[in-house]
Symmetry: C2
Subunit: 255 residues, 2 copies
Amino acid sequence: MNYSPAQEIRLSCRDGKHTGITRGVALGYVQCNLVVLSARYAYDFLLYCQRNQRACPVLEVTDSGCPEPKRCAPGSDLRTDLPRYAIYRYGQRIEDATSITDLWRNDSTAFLIGSGITFDWAFEQASIPTDRHRWVLRSNIETEPAGIFHGPMVVTMRWLTPEQATQAAEITTRFPFNHGAPIHIGDPEAIGADMENPIFGPPVARVPQNLVSVFWACGVTPQEAGMRSNVDLMITHAPAHGFITDLLAKDLELT
Amino acid sequence: MNYSPAQEIRLSCRDGKHTGITRGVALGYVQCNLVVLSARYAYDFLLYCQRNQRACPVLEVTDSGCPEPKRCAPGSDLRTDLPRYAIYRYGQRIEDATSITDLWRNDSTAFLIGSGITFDWAFEQASIPTDRHRWVLRSNIETEPAGIFHGPMVVTMRWLTPEQATQAAEITTRFPFNHGAPIHIGDPEAIGADMENPIFGPPVARVPQNLVSVFWACGVTPQEAGMRSNVDLMITHAPAHGFITDLLAKDLELT
């Protein structure tokens, strides 16, 4: 049987062979952030995503209790097919795991939210390097709350040359359903980007003079809201260890 | 005090002075379809909209029990500020009303869904006439069900000249969050458009030879799903009697 690159990587995660990050893996396929919550939080969470659509583009919500995302990746299993999961209890990340089968409940509901890593394919095609100078940071932009969920917008920062920056802005504008155009270009302080405590990437002292900081609304935003809501159990992908769907990045592109 | 055209029309509805259709009214402002349901159906309904985003672009969901859409039209009241409401009990449209204050409950939740009438402004600017040859029809395209909600996609059909048709396709592509590009152009039978029993507009025998039928996913789709779900009470706007928000159509345009 022939597997697509997306299926290959998912099966490799399922077998425990791939446990590393997914940046650069199965390039061209849509990558997703994962959030798993009990059904009793699902309405508030879905509404939170609706109210903050730019940061939280929902690609699929599974039926309660069903671990298969039938639209994005039929046949896959969200309990095993990611390389690494982060497990939060009452807002604290208490442990990581490579499978969550033992934590899955009858009412577990999985949300797949578009990841900025999906852009890497389009950037690489335009010769914009994606293998470094990328961070995930908290900002001081407040999101619209919904029920128990609230918190700051999380942003992806990339350092680019001025030419790359305009090109990257142009490219991402064509993906309105996957964060779209940058929300900010230039001074990180203007949006209160927390460079000292990145969610992903090393702490940053200052931006090199010849590079521009470009910021996009980030799909990690709803996880941050989940942490602050103190729910008894939330399971997410571990940062940069996303879920690879069968969708092609180019299919999300507005042409 | 100076009111905007959108505020004027809403207040005029509230005072019972405007009870007619909203096509051509406050042109340039975003018009919405309204669905009001009990909070216990809200998750299934929001998920239905998420799974059928093209037909159901949710612009706002009010907090349970709150009749004010704080994001789209602060200060307005969804119980009085539409010209005409349709009231459904167990899937049957039992009566129309010009106010729903007496039917509003502590857990009523209002959904505002982008309307194709919003395009009229952009069409008029491009000299595409909008005052006739427009229908709302059921198709045989099945939507993705969610919980108790399911049903066919409802479509807007416009008859246009071939030149206007290509232009209209181009224009609406720039509104990805308001139905976007046409879902079909040409033979109505190819998507099973029910021309004999339009939801809005007179029955149609056949398309004039010199005109092309152009079809968009329509924001009436979730109402149709609500009807088929047999919920005890659903309140919607009466066809073509929409809610005028403070949002500008051009702000929904991708530029």
